[in-house]
């Protein structure tokens, strides 16, 4: 085990998979000579050369579609969006081509491609550069959606995503690149997609959190423990396919659930999880499932307003107390 930042764990995953399979290549804006806008791709151009680590023009629809076409012809592209905010320009190709190709070709053309990059809230970059888009992508059958919350998960899940034969949306949290953690160094270390992780065991309430909300949920659980409430923290890690069984098992045990997310509440992944819990574990609930979401507003610039728009420890503590009728 080595102590690595999220950024370096992702870099290691990219480097190992580029070394493992020559059909894997990486393309995106500033990934090569600039070494990555967030330095996730640092050193890869030097190691693997310009054929496999490719700087693109700012042309998201074009290079996303080009990557999908390359996947149709047998390559395994990794397409970096400098941030997922820019993936919005590429959604026609991601949704209409990548997600549906296998189905509408009657199973003839699989699309092994990873679209990755930072998403979620960033620091004071206002409305167009600070938003959570996972519910968009998770909506479509044919796409897989992955959101790691620790450096080890980031490495293991990215390696699995690159080896996966389906299109994977891999959303890294912009604020978490510097976060450190233990990371296995074994080149065969992977984490399967579709398997949730219990980040903390507990017995009296379940907090379901992903990405940036995981460390916040763990802090809230620490605080709640001091207040005498034992919380279980579950990180689905993969939004689609969703490991609903692990979530339902936990809810059956604790009978209370809070879902934390950075995204807007309306039509969110949290709404889907709450609906599935209602369908599958309604009789086990001692209180309605409670969501703690980002504010239902475009992200503001001012520091104080931005802070209000993103859920924090206090809101999670209050929500768990609320479902515990305290």
């Amino acid at each position: 085990m080595a102590q690595l930042t999220m950024r370096d764990a992702l870099n290691q995953a990219l480097s190992e998979e580029l070394a493992r399979d020559e059909n894997v290549f990486l393309m995106g804006e500033e990934v090569a000579e600039y070494q990555g806008a967030y330095k996730v791709t640092r050193g890869l151009l030097e190691r693997f050369g310009a054929k496999r680590v490719i700087d693109t023009p700012i042309t998201e629809l074009g290079f996303a579609g080009l990557g999908i076409g390359a996947a149709m012809a047998g390559l395994r592209p990794i397409v970096e969006f400098m941030t997922f905010n820019f993936s919005i320009l590429a959604t026609d190709q991601i949704i209409n081509s990548a997600a549906k190709m296998l189905y509408m070709s009657g199973g003839q053309f699989k699309i092994p491609i990873v679209f990755r990059g930072p998403g979620g809230s960033a620091y004071q970059v206002s409305s167009q550069h600070s938003q959570a888009l996972e519910s968009w992508f998770a909506y479509f059958p044919g796409l897989k959606v992955v959101m790691p919350s620790t450096p080890a998960d980031a490495k293991g899940l990215l390696k699995s995503s690159i080896r996966d034969d389906d299109p994977v949306i891999f959303i890294e949290q912009e604020r978490m690149y510097g976060m450190k953690g233990e990371v296995p160094e074994d080149a065969d270390f992977t984490i399967p997609l579709g398997v949730a992780d219990i980040k903390r065991e507990g017995s009296e309430a379940t907090i379901i959190a992903r990405s940036l909300m995981v460390p916040i949920a763990l802090q809230a659980a620490d605080e709640l423990e001091k207040q005498g409430i034992s919380c279980e923290v579950i990180d689905p890690r993969t939004i689609r396919p969703l490991d609903i069984d692990t979530i339902v098992e936990s809810v059956k045990k604790t009978n209370r659930v809070v879902i934390a997310e950075e995204s807007h509440p309306f039509c969110s992944v949290g709404a889907e999880i709450a609906a599935q819990i209602a369908e599958r574990a309604f009789d086990y609930l001692d209180a309605p499932a409670r969501r703690v979401s980002g504010a239902d507003v475009p992200m503001p610039y001012a520091k104080n307003l931005e802070k209000l728009a993103i859920p924090g420890v206090e809101q999670l503590v209050a929500a768990v107390r609320e479902v515990s009728y305290l």
Binding site: F25, K51, T56, P57, T59, L61, G62, F63, A64, G65, L66, G67, I68, G69, A70, A71, M72, A73, G74, L75, D92, Q93, N96, S97, M101, L102, Y103, M104, S105, G106, G107, Q108, F109, K110, P112, P141, G142, K144, D164, D165, D166
Partner: protein
């Protein structure tokens, strides 16, 4: 302009019999561009192919024409559902271009693709069965008219968002270069797709990275009901290649031999030097945009004017002039093709619908079948 060919700077249509008959309004306006207007007496393209090749081209165009007529009939009978975009009038473009590539080369195209699918080697049976929504269809009944696929013959789809196939084709060409094969990719699209960002983003990448993609714009002069003049500020599609220094040609899309030769030149550039080409094929569709289009935006006289230069009619005349074909032979071909088309309908009719379990297969690759 280092990579530009002579063709791109002169942009004269090449063609067999009838090129000179093109009237001025058929041509791009070439606003502010010199050389975009064709010469009044364009050189005729000699038939340099052997007899068998010429007859194969003729039969393929005729097969596609009769197949599409049968599609219209089957649509009226309710056997084909959804959207159905017919290729009648444009056969020379797909047949001529695809005749210039190898079986292992790739084709990607739009939703008006029945003819190109057949030209690339998907059987009429498998295409008709797909249109009928049957399990034996080339996409197993899941794609329909707009999404024909075959990995056996490298036909990588029918794509139904205007221009959506252009970045995909660019990526297929990227893969050929990456794998250092000499396969080329043909990418067909209508002129309306040229106004999409996907077209421009793709051409920029193709020339920037030198990708063996041949972009073939089938300029049939209408994007659904909107004429070219109402949709495009500069109506010469071929001239748009200048913005990317891509070699380009303006071709008489009613002339199958001209299409074949233009594509051959592009294929040579693509195979030898990994260079893209933009071909503008001026053509015309006789039917509506889709089966539900009454065509009120144009006159019967306009359609008839183009039918005088029908690609099958022109090619028949050229073949007759060269003593390659006569009416007796044509009648024999017609009879054989009629039977072939009838057979495809019988096959589609008799084929089973997809099993209801197919609803949930092929969403993810766990169920992917080699």
């Amino acid at each position: 302009m280092g990579n530009q060919t002579t063709e791109s700077s002169t942009a004269k249509p090449r063609g067999t019999a009838g090129s000179a008959a093109l009237i001025e309004t058929d041509m791009p306006n070439g606003k502010g561009v010199s050389g975009a207007q064709p010469g009044k007496a364009a050189a005729t393209e000699p038939l340099s192919e052997d007899k068998d090749t010429l007859l194969a081209l003729f039969q393929q165009m005729l097969l596609i024409r009769r197949f599409e007529e049968k599609c219209a009939e089957s649509y009226a009978l309710g056997k084909i559902g959804g959207f159905c975009h017919l290729y009648i009038g444009q056969e020379a473009v797909g047949v001529g271009a695809i005749s210039a590539i190898r079986p292992d080369d790739y084709v990607l195209t739009s939703y008006r693709e029945h003819g190109q699918a057949i030209a690339k080697g998907i059987s009429p049976e498998a295409v008709m069965a797909e249109l009928f929504g049957k399990a034996t269809g080339c996409s197993r009944g899941k794609g329909g008219s707009m999404h024909l696929f075959s990995n056996e013959v490298n036909f990588l789809g029918g794509h139904a968002i205007v221009g959506g196939q252009i970045p995909l084709a660019t990526g297929v060409a990227f893969a050929s270069k990456y794998k250092e094969t000499d396969q080329v990719t043909l990418c067909f699209f209508g002129e309306a797709a040229v106004n999409q960002g996907a077209f421009h983003e793709s051409l920029n990448l193709a020339q920037l990275w030198k990708l063996p993609c041949i972009y073939i714009c089938e300029n049939n002069q209408y994007g659904m009901g909107t004429s070219l003049e109402r949709a495009m500020s500069v109506q010469s599609v071929a001239q748009k290649a200048c913005a990317y220094e891509i070699a380009s040609e303006f071709v008489d899309g009613m002339d199958v031999i001209a299409m074949r030769h233009a594509t051959e030149r592009a294929v040579e550039r693509a195979r030898k030097d990994y260079l893209p080409t933009l071909i503008e094929a001026r053509t015309y569709r006789y039917m509506g945009h889709s089966m539900s289009d009454p065509g009120n935006y144009r006159t019967r006289a306009e359609i008839e004017k183009y039918q005088e230069r029908d690609p099958i009619k022109l090619f028949t005349a050229a073949l007759k002039a060269n003593d390659i074909i006569d009416d007796q032979k044509i009648a024999k071909f017609e009879a054989g093709i009629k039977e072939q088309v009838e057979k495809s309908v019988r096959f589609a009719d008799e084929s089973p619908e997809p099993d209801s379990g197919e609803l949930y297969t092929n969403i993810y690759a766990e169920s992917w079948q080699d």
